[in-house]
């Protein structure tokens, strides 16, 4: 016999039967095929006996002992009789109390005394409450999930269902509460929400008479939480997405490979751009941009005189690094017997005199260029019989233009004593002096100081244009090829040796512009990749999606599920692509995040469009296998 039949035969509800089974009072066999319980006649007899003993108020552990033979039925019922008699006394006491209160009347009622007596009786407990307790325990054991009962009525409406449940509850001592304002037949039992449904039964054509009378089965099922918490919903969704990915191994692997390839391409592209930018930034370390003051028509052979405003503009420019400054001088060395003319110059550094530090032999190894000393040409020095450390007296003259600015005239400045601090093979001059001293001589002589030569290096070649603009504003001109006498000494033009740098920079900038111009195309390619991959996947899974829709899955949920799978696989592809590129030394972590971010965005956008378009298919046609 099955559970339904046993219910009908014994009048014990299904959940009570299961509870008794759990308590070890009976052990029905199971059908090997479908796992259903099969109750024997002995099981039915046991259940009837259990019901009988429970209705007498006997506790389950006692009943178990009786059924297992640990205690005889006679002993058990004797003890139960004693308990019942004791309870009877309590009931009698309660009835007597009622009679007592009736006789006292309201005016003479001693409430405290009555309460004390009644509380003593209540502690004894109720007899028939035990059967209700069984239900509670059964409900607790099954987590109060479901119970059902037959009704001999034609149930149609929610109210009729609930009325049946109420009658059942009263019969079985259940604590029920109504739930108002809901369309379904809902009620509370022991604080738990239940939903009652009625299954109308078709009258049997044969069978016992009482079976044909039963028209409906009321099934009460505990309501499960319909609203899961956001966290549980999220975790469940993640589980479903990961499960789908795991089970579509080939498709998932292919998607990851495609994404990985796209990310690697993106990384290479970005690396190219970053590399070019870095090259551009480091270009001034490779190419030195230098310049020199010239006269405007390019003829330098007659010498230069650079006016103060031009010289100051160069000295004050923030874009220049080392500056070489030189002023041409005329010197006459006054000896004891003769006067020796010499070409002299004041220089601010050895380079201004075309010298390297190792070219000069010094009397002392210090290289300070301060003080009244000079470096003499070796040949000149030896011819005059001079040695290191000797002091010479010299009449120093500077140069000045004549009124027509056609020739340079010497202008006496002062007479000085110079110590020969070092000697070297000088190219053009015989004597080199510190520039600071030379400037002082011009001041002493009351002659305007104008350097003869200024050469410089630009610190940051990237600021070349700014430097040129600054020099334009200072009044410097461009050197023009030509000859002319007037103004040939004016140092008012600049020559900047920037050709190699500019060519290299232009080439790199062109490369960068080219790569940046195609950047949107690369992003578009990523989007198209997402679109195509998604289209192909959707085609393959159209039937699955149709079945999901047919089972009541909303469009939004279908979209989110498939979209999440795509995004997860794209992310996995990004991670694999990053590993490959970083292992190959292509790109930096910063570049990876940029590329991965751009890829995920574009790929997801493409997939989104594809899913939105592909989601508009006829479910009916798909399920019927038609297009």
């Amino acid at each position: 016999m099955n559970t339904q039949q046993v219910e009908q035969m014994t009048g014990i509800s299904r959940q009570n039967i299961r509870y008794y089974e759990k308590e070890g009072l009976l052990s029905p066999k199971r059908d090997e095929g479908n796992g259903y319980r099969i109750y024997s006649r002995e099981d039915v007899e046991i259940l009837k006996r259990v019901k009988m003993l429970r209705m007498l108020g006997m506790q389950l552990d006692v009943i178990r002992s009786v059924l297992h033979g640990e205690e005889s039925l006679e002993e058990a019922v004797v003890r139960q009789r004693e308990r019942l008699l004791e309870h009877q006394k309590q009931l009698k006491a309660a009835a007597d109390m009622c009679e007592k209160i009736r006789r006292m009347g309201e005016k003479d009622l001693d409430v405290d005394a009555c309460l004390e007596q009644m509380e003593a009786m209540e502690r004894q407990g109720g007899m028939f409450a035990r059967f209700r307790d069984d239900y509670k325990k059964a409900a607790e054991w099954e987590d109060k999930k479901e119970f059902s009962f037959y009704v001999d009525a034609n149930i149609k409406t929610k109210e009729e269902i609930l009325r049946s449940v109420w009658e059942y509850g009263q019969t079985h001592g259940m604590e029920l509460q109504k739930v108002h304002g809901r369309e379904e037949a809902l009620f509370l039992a022991d604080g738990q929400m239940y939903r009652a449904a009625c299954l109308r039964l078709r009258p049997r054509e044969r069978g016992k008479e009482e079976e044909t009378k039963r028209r409906a089965l009321i099934v009460c099922r505990r309501c499960t939480r319909e609203k899961r918490t956001g966290r549980v919903r999220f975790l469940q969704a993640v589980h479903i997405v990961l499960r789908n990915i795991r089970r579509q191994k080939k498709r998932s692997a292919l998607q990851v490979l495609v994404c990985m390839a796209a990310v690697c391409f993106g990384m290479l592209y970005q690396d190219n751009i970053d590399g070019s930018r870095q090259q551009l930034a480091e270009l001034d370390e490779i190419y030195t941009v230098s310049g020199e003051v010239w006269n405007y028509n390019g003829s330098m052979n007659s010498g230069l005189r650079i006016a103060g405003k031009y010289a100051d503009a160069l000295r004050e420019s923030p874009y220049l690094g080392e500056m070489e400054e030189k002023v041409d001088l005329n010197a006459v060395l006054l000896g004891e017997q003769e006067e020796v003319p010499a070409q002299a110059a004041g220089i601010n550094c050895l380079a201004a005199g075309e010298l390297e530090p190792g070219d000069v032999t010094w009397e002392d190894e210090g290289e300070s260029l301060d003080g009244t000393w000079c470096v003499m040409d070796k040949t000149f020095m030896e011819k005059r019989g001079l040695e290191l450390g000797d002091q010479v007296t010299a009449e120093i003259s500077g140069y000045q233009e004549d009124e027509m600015a056609v020739v340079l005239l010497t202008v006496p400045l002062c007479t000085v004593k110079l110590e020969i601090a070092g000697y070297a093979d000088l190219a053009a001059e015989d004597v080199l002096c510190p520039l600071s001293e030379a400037r002082q001589w011009f001041d002493d002589g009351g002659v305007e100081y104008m350097p003869s030569r200024m050469r410089f290096e630009i610190k940051d070649a990237g600021k070349l244009n700014a430097f040129k603009k600054e020099m334009d504003e200072a009044g410097f001109m461009e050197v023009t090829a030509g000859f002319g006498a007037t103004g040939i000494y004016k140092g008012n033009a600049l020559v900047v040796d920037d050709r190699a740098y500019v060519e290299a920079a232009r080439s790199i900038e062109k490369n960068i512009r080219f790569l940046m111009a195609f950047y949107p195309l690369v992003l578009a390619l990523m989007m198209v990749t997402g679109y195509i991959v998604s289209c192909l996947v959707m085609q393959d899974r159209r039937m699955e999606l149709a079945v999901m829709r047919a089972l009541g899955t909303g469009r939004r949920r279908v979209f989110l599920q498939i979209f999440s799978e795509h995004v997860l696989m794209a992310a996995a592809g990004c991670a694999c692509g990053a590993l490959v590129c970083l292992a190959a030394g292509t790109g930096s972590p910063g570049a990876f995040f940029r590329v991965a971010g751009a890829f995920l965005l574009c790929y997801s956008a493409g997939a989104c469009v594809s899913l939105a378009v592909a989601g508009r298919f006829s479910v009916i046609a798909a399920l019927m296998g038609k297009e």
Binding site: G33, N34, G35, Y36, K156, C198, L199, R200, L201, R202, T224, R225, E226, K227, R228, V232, R233, Q236, I240, R243, N244, R247, Q248, M543, E544, A546, V547, R549, A550, L551, G552, T553, G554, R555, S618, V619, I620, L623, M624, G625, K626
Partner: protein, 224 residues
Amino acid sequence: MERIKVEDVSYSYISKYQKIDALRQVSCSFDEGKLYAVIGESGSGKSTLLSLLAGLDLPSEGTIYIDGEDLASMDRDAYRRDKASVVYQSFHLFPLLTALENVMYPLELKGVPGREARRRAMDCIAQAGLPEKILRQYPKMMSGGEQQRVAIARALAAEGDILLADEPTGNLDTENEEIIAGLLLECAHEKGYTVVLVTHSLELARKADVIYRMKDGRMMRYDR
């Protein structure tokens, strides 16, 4: 009690640039606790009618009422989740899910927690007469009969009370056809479902309480 009422329903669609009138002014009703068979030749509109009853699309004309409510005004996704289930000739199980997971799907859709969903799904699989070993099998490992029973178990798991079956025995042998027919009858007569069965088989249709016949998109009651 009348569950479904179809009132002057017509349905047409475009196929290969041609308009097809699949249903023409069909009117009928379906009561609870009964098994209805809809028979007819191929292309007579039986499956289309079933699809409309399942809320997969709306009729071009006419109205379908479910428990007195117009299907067009309902949330049809919720209707398919909570009230109506469909069983197909091709079973349409999810190939990547096991039998248990297939049957759990409608319960998960409703938000039933995992353990409870698993318990109910196992009950439904047992009700469909399937052994426990089927639980972890994928559809490709099952026979046609087993797949169709899993599909019916999935329909039962939805805990609705309308079951729509589109040629459920079309791909099955006689023995499995009998088993499936038995399950559908049990759903109608024991559980009180409204079962609508579309079939070519007159023998299967004769087991039903009411037979409707469709021809060229029109419906008429069939006299046994």
